[in-house]
């Protein structure tokens, strides 16, 4: 593991920002610290950087315990949310700053800065000042500045938060490609799960100071370890009592869970219905266009669910009655998540063999 945190705790006054945080990140991984506001992700990042000191626990970077080391000797580069570029220096001087502090030779500095300017695609911008750059350009300069001293670890604090939506998409892709190309171990903090899923190799989900789960995006999606992750990653509708659904009566009454849109199949009037014995009745109370599909809001016996509907078919309207089949759902028991299948589907031999 290139980065390792062992049992980290940190409090600010009465507020506990980190509780027993432990995880490891392999060399070359692009990891995301993902979680809602106040979940402790930025605190973790700052502790790795050395901007905060943990109350207890150890932090290892490249097998070295860094708790007592100043940020500048940990071999890290840091990109701030608001860029924190030096307003009164040129782009060139900004990028060169870290190298100048380390007293590198002028020629070496020049070579490296020019190399980085080319890397970030701002070759002719060396003499400009940050005020003359757009948000996206500033972020790229911040990136170059952090990379200039060749750190082993790159830390980014919500790097796209201050950038407008359109540029954000491009910048996201650019950053991911850049980091992959350089092969540098990186951790970035975000509260936007789309961003985390799109960019990161690995996601560390934080909630209330704890690490809920660590894994690759598809793993987190398909096999959430905790109810929080199930809810936070991907879309899901919370369910108070999974035993209320047809085919799930075998479960303990009152067990909570969640239903993802793809766990449902909606049959409108005129559709051929699979497993007619297992479907339930629901009312459509919302129809929303989502670009590539329709999102239906359904109320099934008082339970609100979300389903997807193909644009190829005639869309149902609000108020229409539809038949809904619940293939599977998540059950939350003892803080753990398990996937339950509709019992009736196993028994039934009717229906078409569609791969679900």
């Amino acid at each position: 593991m290139y980065i390792e945190l062992r049992d980290i705790n940190k409090s600010f006054g009465d507020f506990q920002a980190s509780r027993s945080v432990s995880f490891g990140i392999a060399r070359g991984t692009l990891a995301a610290l993902l979680g809602p506001s106040g979940s402790g992700k930025t605190t973790i990042l700052r502790m790795i950087a050395g901007l905060e000191t943990p109350d207890s626990g150890d932090i290892f970077i490249n097998a070295r315990r860094v708790n007592d080391l100043a940020p500048s000797v940990r071999g890290i580069g840091f990109v701030f949310q608001n860029y924190a570029l030096f307003r009164y220096m040129t782009v060139f001087d900004n990028i060169a700053f870290g190298l100048r502090v380390k007293k590198e030779k002028a020629a070496a500095i020049r070579a490296r800065v020019e190399e980085l300017l080319e890397l970030i695609g701002l070759e002719d911008f060396g003499k400009r000042h940050p005020a003359q750059l757009s948000g996206g350009q500033k972020q790229r300069v911040a990136f170059a500045r952090a990379l200039a001293p060749n750190p082993g670890l790159l830390l980014l604090d919500e790097p796209f938060a201050a950038i407008d939506a359109k540029v954000r998409r491009e910048l996201r892709v650019w950053l991911r490609d850049m980091i992959r190309r350089l092969g540098i171990t990186s951790i970035f903090v975000t509260h936007d799960q789309d961003e985390a899923i799109e960019v990161a190799d690995e996601i560390i989900v934080t909630n209330k100071g704890r690490v809920e789960q660590l894994g690759a995006p598809p793993d987190l999606y398909r096999e959430p370890a905790t109810p929080f992750v199930a809810d936070f990653i991907g879309e899901s509708a919370p369910v108070e009592n999974i035993a209320a659904f047809r085919g799930f009566e075998a479960n303990v009454q009152g067990t909570p869970g969640a239903v993802r849109p793809e766990f449902l199949k909606v049959f409108a009037v005129g559709d051929v219905i699979q497993y007619p014995n297992s479907v339930e009745d629901a009312v459509v109370d919302d129809v929303a266009f989502r670009g590539a599909w329709l999102e239906l809001g359904l109320v099934l016996r008082g339970i609100r669910l979300t389903a997807r509907y193909s644009l190829e078919k005639q869309p149902p309207r609000i108020g229409d009655f539809v038949k809904v089949l619940v293939y599977r759902l998540y059950a939350f028991e003892d803080g753990k998540v398990s996937l339950r299948r509709n019992a009736e589907l196993n028994a039934s031999r009717h229906g078409y063999s569609y791969s679900i």
Partner: protein, 283 residues
């Protein structure tokens, strides 16, 4: 003034801006231009010879030198202190921070005469400090150090009060970034912090110099009025005036006026340059 009513909404009376301009002009004329004009006319009323004699008089020269010395010292010391205080107040949180900022403002609230008396009580013959000073032959009040102290005291708030808001508004992001990259304190101050406060600092230094040059009350109390030794320019003017040497008094005053003009010009240059830089950097 072309386009006097240019910015006024259509239909608004033109008399209001005219009235305000008139009031301002009248005020400026009476309070500012008139006294200056009187000083300069009186200074030369007996001819150039008298004027030159008055300003080149040995006591006038010594007073000028002392004023410059006190001004330079107070500017230097208050710049150092002001920067340090501003840094500490805006970058750290500690118990008593509010007390410090209030303390810094005290010279504004206290009459300079009181300040002078405080120094007499603290360093004068009747203070408990005196035996120690006597033993080492150190003279503070009724000597140049006392004058410098008094001048420093009345100008303490200037630098701190100008720099603190600028530092506060700016935030610490850039400095954190610099710390992360291993920059030492002085590097950070020189390359990251200072460029931000450059103009505010310059402006406050100018204000400080102006105030120091003209200081009378506090200096008068601690001076001892030793001719040729502890008389600053304003004190010397008072002496000339009470000796009925009115022309000479005005002549020496015109030196102070010249100093004021230099300072104001410097301030305008600073403001102009700051505004120019501001418009180039769209933050």
């Amino acid at each position: 003034m072309s386009g006097k009513g240019k910015n006024a909404p259509r239909g608004a009376s033109l008399w209001v801006p005219r009235l305000f301009i008139g009031i301002s002009a009248l005020f400026a004329a009476v309070m500012l231009i008139l006294p200056l004009a009187v000083v300069l006319t009186e200074a030369f009323s007996s001819g150039l010879q008298v004027f030159l004699r008055a300003v080149s008089d040995i006591y006038a020269r010594k007073a000028l030198f002392l004023t410059l010395e006190a001004t330079a010292a107070s500017v230097f010391l208050n710049t150092v202190f002001g920067l340090a205080a501003a840094w500490v107040v805006t970058r750290y949180s500690f118990a008593g921070k509010g007390v410090l900022t209030t303390l810094i403002d005290i010279p504004f609230a206290v009459s300079p005469v009181i300040a002078g008396m405080i120094f007499i009580l603290t360093f004068g013959r009747l203070s408990w400090l005196h035996p120690v000073l006597e033993e080492h032959g150190i003279r503070i009040v009724f000597a140049t150090p006392g004058i410098i102290l008094a001048t420093v005291f009345v100008t303490i708030p200037f630098v701190a009060r100008e720099v603190i808001p600028v530092l506060e508004a700016r935030g610490t992001d850039e400095e954190q970034a610099a710390v992360l990259m291993g920059a030492g304190f002085f590097t950070i101050f020189r390359r990251v912090t200072f460029p931000h406060i450059r103009w505010a600092l310059l402006y406050s230094v100018i204000l400080c110099a102006a105030r120091a040059m003209g200081e009378f009350g506090a200096v008068s109390v601690v001076s001892g009025h030793l001719r040729g030794k502890t008389n600053t320019l304003p004190l010397h003017v008072e002496i000339l005036y009470s000796e009925y040497q009115f022309t000479a008094a005005f002549a020496v005053s015109s030196l102070l006026v010249a100093g004021a003009v230099i300072i104001l010009t410097a301030r305008n240059i600073v403001e102009f340059a700051a505004r120019k830089e501001d418009s180039l950097n769209v933050h």
